[in-house]
Symmetry: C2
Subunit: 294 residues, 2 copies
């Protein structure tokens, strides 16, 4: 444990640029502007899950924000080393623009990225949620739309923080959010999929939202299992008529929504089929209920 | 100089929570989510300018983001101490949500804000710009709209960083930005005022943008000098028919726009009158040309 003295923060291991450390420069542009990207990587049986997808997304994000990314081999080796000693853990990787060379928004020519790697304990949670589903609310906050940032898992996350602060009932797992123009986007920390007319659909993320790795995996795998899947502009009306709804992220995998804004939903066959389909990729046995087993 | 070794960063003095320090916890929510607010305070003749407006805005921002703000007297004393030894300097104050107690967007109950105070040298700049005006472009990036964040000087600034990265010509001082729905908002680091039909107008900032302290000062002072001033929804058509345009922020005061997107503008009488009006508040003599004098 090398968290800063006096904090109750739960990270149990932190590296900065590959070295054991707990602090970053007060001049880092990640701190001043949220100018960074992150990945939250689920690790099970000592191994990071979907690491290739995480590192590819990080690389794409670096390209879009104009960062020179850290070497992929180095990142992969570090994440593997963080994962190895634990049966289950969460490894968070943050890459910022680095220490500012001057005050102000303009970037310097010689800034080099700061890499922060943190290991957290696996979240304590009801192991049966993957089977029985979760209760979800509709968020009041509407996400701003900016194609330049859409899809990225960047560090400008005040909207998600404010949306998450709208409720404190622990029985509610997530809130679904619309954008300023009324498009359905995602949860605060998950992507959302609907089954509409027997087809699997998820919101297009060209104006806002984070393109999650589990979302990507599902869009890739579903057609091979005979389930047509597509990204689409979706609205509240689509949400209301969906026959199945589920959430995805790297940690929870696929989690059925059994109640949305007070209305009960059945956990359906498409959701179950997809849970079985991705289980091998998540180092889970193929029965969904085992997804939360310790 | 206590900037981290190996960096070329220009801050010449840094305090964290009132103590001489250069680094912050890698678990700070300011770093993870940009969950913070900042103030950029111009200091001249050893004294911070418009400090009361800065600290009031910071307090309002803390209230909106749900932070318990640091004591105002403590902040004021620290900024005064930072300003005192220098003829001119820029003091930046950052207040973040503090060190995270857990991973994820949900806030802990006992997080205490982190306060970072930095002193930078006054920017090197052509001293005649306040008199002769600046050249400005129209930015391609459009700002996302979110009323929950509008007006705040928060640390989610990727949009401004990307907009500033659109040009590198040092002869261009600023870019004016529209929002996703086409409303004129501001520059990347300044507010904008237009003279329309002999009236002073500036964009309403209810959907996005930072409500600057110089903007606030002008809206307060102008009517007393016989200049009607109002916040209004503005578009590209308003910009095209403006008889005068100027930019404001805490450092530059009022800076006339003499060229916008290749079109020449005259520096007009309203701009000059307002420069003279605010000069005493900025510790400047009343002739605008003296605004940049060393």
């Amino acid at each position: 444990v090398n968290a800063p003295a006096g904090s109750t923060a739960p990270a149990e291991l932190v590296h900065i640029n590959g070295r054991d450390a707990t602090q970053v420069s007060a001049l880092d542009r990640g701190l001043h502007y949220g100018e960074g990207l992150f990945e939250t990587i689920a690790c099970t049986h000592g191994t990071p899950r979907l690491l290739e997808l995480h590192l590819k997304r990080l690389g794409r994000g670096c390209a879009r924000l104009g960062f020179t990314p850290p070497p992929v081999e180095e990142l992969a080796a570090e994440v593997h080393a963080f994962a190895a000693p634990r049966e289950r853990a969460v490894v968070k990787l943050i890459v910022t623009r680095g220490v500012a060379q001057a005050r102000g928004y303009a970037r310097g020519k010689d800034e080099t990225v700061t890499r922060i790697t943190l290991r957290y304990p696996w979240p304590a949670e009801d192991a049966t949620l993957a089977h029985k589903g979760v209760r979800v609310r509709i968020g009041a906050l509407r996400l701003g739309e900016n194609p330049a940032l859409a899809g990225l898992k960047h560090c400008n996350r005040l909207e998600q923080v404010l949306a998450r602060a709208e409720w404190s009932d622990p029985a509610i797992a997530e809130a679904l959010l619309y954008s300023s123009s009324g498009a359905l986007v995602s949860g605060t920390m998950s992507n959302v999929f609907l089954v509409l007319d027997s087809k699997l659909v998820t919101p297009r993320l060209h104006r806002c939202g984070v393109a999650g790795v589990m979302r990507e995996l599902l869009l890739t795998l579903a057609p091979g299992a005979g389930i047509a899947a597509e990204e689409r502009d979706l609205t509240a009306a689509d949400l209301a008529r969906a026959s199945e709804i589920f959430l995805t992220n790297a940690l929870i995998g696929i989690r059925p929504v059994r109640e949305l804004g007070g209305h009960t939903l059945a956990v359906g066959g498409v959701t179950r089929a997809l849970q079985a389909l991705v289980a091998p990729r998540l180092n889970l046995s193929s029965t969904p209920a085992a997804g939360g087993r310790r």
